[in-house]
């Protein structure tokens, strides 16, 4: 019957356009897939920066390898899911080949301005707890500017508009907020190390 065929047609048509690299179809597809892929990666590792990196890698792998997509084998959604799974396997293999960081989270905060924090440290619940605690100790303006800059990823101009301030003032506030956060993290590090030292002395 003709009416039964109708719902399939737009999908089949867009799959063919997708295979041909139609930019409009791809734009809609990528926009739709980013949150889904992000959720998949976040379930594998509770690490938002890594999830962003893996989403980016998967999308670019799909764009560059689009010649390998065959509409007769399935939907573009299943196809990109296969690429995402492959990237998860590669990440697992990469992690298996390197030594896992050892020691307390606080030790890594001591060199925060000199060395990149390992992914495994970022994924610790303890790390998230320490950062939230340090953030809660800052002034509300400093908290707001850090969240706008690093979580919402707004530009200084946008933050200035939001806060009813100038761009220069935002830069200055950001500078102070970064230093304050670092100071609070150092304080927490000292407290943790002090606590650990007295614990060791009592043993």
């Amino acid at each position: 019957m003709e009416t039964e065929d109708v719902p399939d047609r737009p999908d089949q048509l867009s799959w063919a356009q997708f295979a041909q690299g139609d930019p409009d179809v791809w734009q809609e597809f990528i926009k739709r897939e980013i949150p889904r892929l992000y959720g998949i990666f976040l379930r594998s590792w509770p690490n938002r920066p890594l999830a962003e990196e893996l989403v980016q890698r998967t999308v670019f792998d799909a764009v560059r390898g689009r010649g390998g997509y065959d509409p007769s084998k399935g939907s573009p959604e299943d196809w990109i899911l296969g690429i995402a799974r492959n990237n998860i396997r590669l990440e697992i293999r990469k992690r298996a080949g390197r030594s896992s960081p050892n020691g307390q989270t606080s030790r890594y905060f001591e060199t925060i301005d000199a060395k990149p924090l390992p992914d495994e440290v970022l994924e610790r619940e303890e790390t998230a707890g320490m950062v939230r605690l340090a953030l809660s100790r800052l002034e509300s303006k400093e908290q707001a500017v850090l969240e706008a800059k690093y979580i919402q990823e707004l530009a200084a101009g946008e933050i200035a508009l939001q806060m009813g301030s100038t761009e220069k003032a935002v830069h200055s506030l950001l500078y102070r907020a970064r230093l304050s956060l670092r100071r609070e993290l150092e304080k927490l590090t000292r407290q943790t190390n002090g606590g650990q030292a007295s614990l060791n002395a009592n043993r």
Partner: protein, 123 residues
Amino acid sequence: MKYDDSNLPQEDGSTQLDQNLSRLLKAAGNSSRPSTRFTVSLVNDAIAELRRTKAAGQIRAPWASGPPWLEKSLGWAAVVGAACSAGLAIIASILLKMSFLVQAVAVLTVLVNWFTFFGEYLR
């Protein structure tokens, strides 16, 4: 205090604090969705890459956007062409009473030329 940093990526030391704070704050957040800025930026970059590679692909292989059977057919035609040429080279070398070494050189030269030609053409 020292710790094992063999698993750390290489990044620019001048902005290390900024990068680490960015990663720490993102990691400590509780959003299960990517930021709008990230999404918009990635979509734009990916579409730019799509257009760029599409344009480059069209210059190199005009049939790349054609039906998939076309590329397969061309591949098989290349194999048949190479096999026929090798056969012809063998027959010609026998008819011309060439030595075994000359025959082998003639056949291998024809095969290598065919594969080089198709390798360049299909790339």
